[in-house]
Amino acid sequence: MMMDTKAAGAQAGSRNATAAYDAASAKSVLQVKGLEVTYYTDLGRAKALDDVSFTLGAGEKLGMVGESGSGKSTMALAMMRMIKPPGRIEGGSVIVDGTDLMALDDDTMRRARLDKIAYIPQGAMNSLNPVTRIGAQMVDAIKSHMPREGRSAIMDRCMHALRSVDLDSGVFRMYAHELSGGMKQRVCIAIGILLEPKVIIADEPTSALDVVTQRQVMETIDRVQDQINAAVILIGHDMGLMAQFVDKVAVMYAGRLVEVASVREMFTDPKHPYSQALISSLPNLDNKGVFQGIPGLAPSLLRLPSGCAFHPRCPHAEELQRTVRPESVTLAGGRTVTCHLYAEEGQRHV
């Protein structure tokens, strides 16, 4: 969408917008542009990611929300270049700290994982090797990136990472089955920050934990992010948790980013009809017990609706929405939305 913005800006002859964009990209540590992933299944092609673009600055936290199957985890895997067949990354770029990950050869990409961009897995319960000690799993991660690192330097790194996530140094000598769920998740975070990456993707880091532990884990992520000043992408369903911890919220629907806004804007003034429905489905103190669901079901990626993929469930759907695919537009304050309703408003702000 930044590309679009730039093009539109040039057309309008607005030098200011272009300059603002350049300034933003200069301090941003992560730029994702036009990322596309397709799964070639027996039933047909499923476009799991469609032209996903966003930027993130150092120290910023982005919450990525959306229904199951909307492409949140696919996006995380695509950024790590870990999409497995029958999936394929069809295009786009992921620029971390000036390096386009999509252009790297396989071995350089392997070394970029954890070093530049780290992934904290969804199923922390089973993400640790059950037959080797936690320490061994931290040491091998460091060694595969720094083969010449000395023993004591490696140990320092491990101990520092364990301290950062509030774990006792004794965990180093333990096995996964000796740890609680929250401890395992924190070990995964510790492994994620071993090499102080620029970008951390946490894929539903709290999904299998109780609420108290959820909060502890989120606070841990918050703290380690401050220490290493990384950009964090937090993937999850829990809007409440998001509201407390992230700076920006991105809403995904059927493989597209339909809205990206600051957390305040998103919760007080959501623009996209889907975001509006999401926010109004949340319980709040004013109308207890009256929850509003979103009518309809998430569409199958194999047979996406024409035009705007959300139109069958959208209260504003008309001929335009049914036939023309909306483009992403930038609104006042730099927030973006992919909806026909804001096309004109977007033009004014570019």
Binding site: R110, P121, V131, E178
Partner: protein
């Protein structure tokens, strides 16, 4: 691992051996056949003995083997003898003891079975692991296929086919026996080479028959393990493929294989009986075969109990090894 568990395992080992020897004691006694009477019956047919003398000789032999005593007393004595590995005299190779017959046959079987079992376990496990690993080169992955096909061929047929084509038609290797006829066993290179030439075909028959099984179970396990979160996370950590394969994938997929190894040890003896028969090797299988034909009860007892002890001992050893491979077992 604490002391209590060790004692528990050892007691279990004793229990298994006791149960097996009790079954072995009572089953032949349920039959009405009398080995001594049958032997003397054969003698009587050749003539020259009066029926009264035969009866006297049978009675004296019965006494000598303790078969005239009450069943329970025989049983106690038998248990005592087993604990000293004393199975009495061989009936067919008198005056050799059954233990001596077994001791002569044992090295042949251990040599062949140990080597072939270890080779097929290692080969089958590695081939299976590679066959399930998507990043392995295609030619390496396809190596497993012929072995899977060979699993369907029983060792008997495999042994005969090998003998016919390699031994008889091509004359590359000897047709049978433990070593060439007319050679006196010595500790020399030439004897060792001769010995090895005779072992190749039986070893191949056993290996071809069992590698496929290991390949199949390991491949199945490998496919399960490579979908595990910890293998994925290892890749996210940026580890090299070799390290993920060894420490995350192979190490975990190996655990059920080791259990399988313990279970396979029992069936390995069965195929040894057949293969030794085909290739004329003087091992336990052949000794058992001869003993059964000659109604040589003490040797049959001895071999069966010996096999029981050996398998129970190996299982106990594996039980002690398993916690070293899987820390989760150690905890419980």
């Amino acid at each position: 691992m604490n002391f209590k568990i060790v004692v528990k395992r050892l007691l279990f080992f004793v229990l298994v051996v006791w149960a097996a020897s009790t079954i072995v004691f009572f089953i032949p006694r349920l039959s009405s056949r009398n080995a001594i009477r049958e032997r003397f019956g054969e003698l009587a047919r050749t003539g020259g003995f009066s029926p009264g003398d035969i009866e006297k000789m049978i009675a004296s032999m019965q006494q000598q083997f303790g078969l005239d005593k009450p069943m329970l007393e025989q049983y106690w004595q038998y248990l005592g003898n087993i604990s000293r590995l004393d199975f009495g005299y061989s009936l067919s190779k008198y005056p050799s003891t059954a233990t001596e017959v077994i001791a002569q046959a044992l090295p042949w079987t251990i040599g062949l079975l140990l080597v072939t079992t270890v080779v097929s376990f290692v080969l089958g496990t590695l081939l299976g692991a590679v066959a399930a690993w998507p990043k392995a080169p295609g030619w390496l992955r396809s190596l497993a296929t012929p072995f899977i096909l060979l699993t369907g061929v029983p060792p008997v047929i495999m042994g005969i086919l090998l003998l016919f084509f390699i031994g008889f038609r091509l004359k590359w290797l000897p047709l049978g026996g433990a070593y060439s006829a007319g050679i006196v066993p010595t500790w020399s290179w030439s004897f060792f080479l001769d010995l090895m030439q005779h072992q190749i075909l039986p070893a191949l028959a056993l290996i071809f028959g069992s590698v496929g099984g290991w390949v199949l179970s390991m491949r199945g396990m490998g496919i399960t393990i490579q979908g595990e979160d910890y293998v994925n996370f290892a890749e996210h950590k940026g580890l090299t493929g070799g390290r993920i394969f060894r420490d995350y994938y192979l190490r975990n997929a190996l655990l059920p294989q080791v259990t399988g190894l313990a279970l396979a040890l029992g069936t390995v003896i069965t195929s040894a009986v057949i293969v030794e028969g085909i290739f004329g090797l003087p091992g336990i299988g052949t000794a058992l075969n001869l003993a059964i034909r000659a109604n040589d009860f003490p040797v049959i007892y001895g071999i069966v109990i010996f096999i029981t002890i050996a398998i129970a001992a190996l299982m106990t050893i594996l039980e002690f090894v398993y916690p070293l491979l899987d820390p989760r077992i150690r905890a419980n």
